[in-house]
């Protein structure tokens, strides 16, 4: 609060049919401060920042920008005022190149000049980009880097970041934080939305906490604990998820992959080379790694979506699964949760009930003699919504109407309630708030203690360390040997991912 207020919102209200997203919200952001906006999924954070960025219009309330009451009609106007935003659901064009995506958000400019500026900014802030690659074959992490660089190129006075670190490695996050601190020293304000409370404490000067569309508190994160922040956010005490107990090595092998070689279908995908892994009953194997190092290909090979691998074997519950499609693998006892929520895990324009049926039919026997037992599917969906606290207007809501975190709870819950023997999950809590993440983690642990095996691919090291019994690192399409959790530290893993990026051929020595 040292500087004059840059942005000030008073009494902002916004409602959608069926819900009040923002109810009389006040918010003050001063120049040069890093201001956190905290809240659960569906607390109204995204709606509020969309109003600030001119995507949505408030029903009521005032926005003051640099002391003057301003109506922000559209994003172009927001940008010309000096407001930049990195979206949570990326606003990128998949069939276009990185350079084109960036050019589209900027005033007209010579492409070569822009390319030079892009490369300069990208390297200045340590965000590696390839200007001529098409977005559709980039990983989530790379897509996010485009969004961030695109914003920085606009030289904003206020930068809004909606969960910027959810797909970054610890090192990348550190670099981003340095960037943000530099920006704030240049007297720019940053509005930072995150569920990672540690980050908020480490980075942010001030925090505004939203719950159920209302502002419930303002606080100084440095004077709070992670726990107290989380409790303010959720409005009740939360239980700590306990560490995993070690499992005995005699339990049966539920997933065994040996010498798996896969050629990627993606134009700039990563081929998998000699992947070897084993997961036993009652065990979580965590696979850490930076986005775009073969995670998508590994997930596709395990779920059976991408056809037969070049070589190698995959055994699910002891049965050779090579050549089996996802449905056949599901009937063996495996379930899969892919990384992309919309379009891959769920059909956007179908209801939750329909989406439950799509993956649940095999294991839950929803159809009899070719007819679908809709009451049973509806009951099942209601269970998922209840058990996983999915905030929705009802089980007949379209998947696309749910916020990202709520949809994530739904697609994870939908698989876990099928009581699988093997769960293969990628990024189980991406974009999910602390309370919901804890709930998902708890359910995964419950599943494991009931004797299931879990293979978890995640870029979130906290999550990897919280849940895994053993950890392996994927890099350049190769997988390190799995290390028991007490023999490896986050720093080791971070370092390992970094080293292997630079030295690919000798990568195998590092963990051997």
């Amino acid at each position: 609060m040292t500087e004059q207020g840059l942005l000030s919102l008073t009494g902002v209200c916004k409602s959608f049919p069926g819900c009040i997203a923002n109810d009389n919200i006040d918010l003050d952001v001063a120049a040069g401060e890093i201001h956190a906006l905290l809240g659960e999924n569906g607390a109204g954070k995204s709606t509020l920042v969309k109003i600030i960025y001119g995507v949505l219009r408030p029903d009521q309330g005032n926005i003051r920008w640099q002391g003057k009451v301003t109506r922000i009609e559209n994003p172009a106007q927001a940008r010309s005022l000096g407001i930049g935003m990195v979206f949570q659901h990326f606003s990128l064009f998949e069939a276009m190149t990185t350079l084109e995506n960036i050019a589209l958000a900027l005033p007209p400019e010579d492409p070569e000049a822009l390319r030079a500026r892009l490369e300069e900014t990208a390297s200045a802030y340590g965000l590696a980009l390839q200007p001529d690659r098409h977005v559709y074959d980039l990983s989530m992490g790379e897509r996010q880097r485009i969004e961030i660089v695109r914003c920085l190129l606009q030289n904003p006075q206020l930068l809004i970041l909606d969960e910027p670190t959810s797909v970054l490695t610890p090192q990348e996050t550190e670099i981003l934080f340095e960037t943000l601190r530099t920006l704030s020293q240049e007297s720019r304000a940053i509005l930072y939305i995150s569920h990672k409370l540690e980050e908020v404490r480490a980075l942010c000067d001030r925090a505004t906490i939203l719950r159920g569309g209302r502002r419930v508190d303002d606080c100084l994160p440095a004077q709070e604990t992670t726990r107290s922040l989380a409790e303010k956010m959720i409005g009740k005490k939360i239980q700590q998820v306990s560490r995993q107990s070690p499992i005995d090595s005699g339990s049966s092998m539920l997933l065994a992959v040996s010498d798996l070689n896969v050629r990627s279908d993606l134009a700039h995908g990563v081929d998998l080379t000699d992947i070897r892994l084993e997961v036993r009953a009652g065990e979580v194997l965590g696979i850490a790694g930076i986005a775009g190092n073969g995670q998508i290909e590994l997930m596709g090979a395990l779920s059976g979506e991408t056809g037969s691998p070049l070589a190698g074997s995959i055994r699910i519950l002891g049965t050779d699964a090579i050549g089996l499609n996802p449905t056949a693998r599901r009937s063996l006892g495996a379930v899969f949760v892919p990384e992309e929520r919309i379009g891959h895990a769920a059909v956007a324009d179908m209801t939750l009930v329909d989406n439950s049926y799509l993956t649940g039919d095999t294991r839950m026997k929803f159809s009899r003699r070719g007819l679908i037992d809709w009451p049973a599917v509806t009951r099942y969906t209601q269970n998922v919504v209840q058990d996983f606290d999915v905030r929705t207007t009802g089980v007949d809501a379209l998947a696309s109407s749910l916020s990202g975190g709520n949809l994530q709870k739904f697609i994870v819950g939908r698989e876990i309630l099928q009581e699988p023997s093997l769960l293969v999950v990628s990024q189980p809590t991406w974009g999910v708030d602390a309370g919901a993440a804890a709930a998902i983690h708890e359910e995964i642990q419950r599943l494991v203690s009931a004797g299931a095996a879990v293979l978890m691919i995640s870029q979130d090291l906290d999550e990897i360390f919280l849940l895994s019994h053993r950890i392996a690192v994927i890099s350049q399409g190769t997988l390190s040997a799995a290390m028991p959790i007490d023999e490896i530290t986050p720093e080791d893993i971070g370092l390992l991912m970094g080293i292997r990026h630079e030295v690919q051929p000798e990568a195998d020595h590092v963990t051997a």
Binding site: A76, F87, L92, F93, E94, A95, E100, A103, L104
Partner: protein, 307 residues
Amino acid sequence: MPDLIIASVMTMMTAATPLVFAATGELICERSGVLNLGVEGMMLIGAVFGFATAAVTGNAPLGLLMAGVAGLLASLIFATLTLSLLSNQVATGLALTIFGTGLSALVGFDYVGETIDQIAAIHLPVLSDLPVVGRLLFGHDPLVYLSLGLLAAVAWFLSRSRWGMILRAVGDSDVSAHAIGYPVVLIRYAAVAFGGMMAGLGGGYLSLVYTPLWAENMAAGRGWIALALVVFASWRPERVLFGAILFGSITILQLNAQAAGLGIPAAFMSMLPYIATIVVLVLISRDAIKIRLNAPACLGRPFRAER
């Protein structure tokens, strides 16, 4: 013999030109994410209003202008229904074709059998008189050059210009384009209108140059072929041209073959251009990655800006 070949090539170009017009327009329309199945109807509307104008005023170029305007107005009906009122694009497009067929028959009733002064082929001193290449390069009617020029302009627009990039962005992700701040609906209106104008010009070419007279339902499925061309050309202008010329060539070749009396049923010969064009374009456009890069991801999806 060379004369015969030259004459055949010349007619091939005239057979291809209506398709070049209509498909180029539809290409822009679809690249913006709007699927307008009313091309056939807009062509017929263009054809009849163009012909009627020329018949009444005796001015064929004015007729052609009217053809374009009529096609554009017809497409604005479609745009209002689908973009502002969010009706289903497939159903609305089909309705537009049915409407265009009926309206053109009604308006054209009095003009059946009438003749007009057709737009003459150009004749450049010296150049057009060169042996062989003279007529092939410089002896077509002006509209052949106009259609090729517009196609080239569209190709340049899409790949090189900023507005072309914005148009592709709107077709690729309307939600993202809106989030960045582009007027998605307005851009789509413009694209649909351009498509309508081009379909109208294609229809006008049929009734003012190609035949030149008015006959009910004279587009004879060319609107549908133009639609198919766009899809099977994987939304790339140079392939649209290739497909259109292929269609024109086979049309003329099979006519010549029929005239020569090869003993193949006429019905089979008549369907050859349609089948051959589609088969060839399907064969050359099998690359899944290329299709992914050029196909507008939002094609046919209604968009409403949340506010």
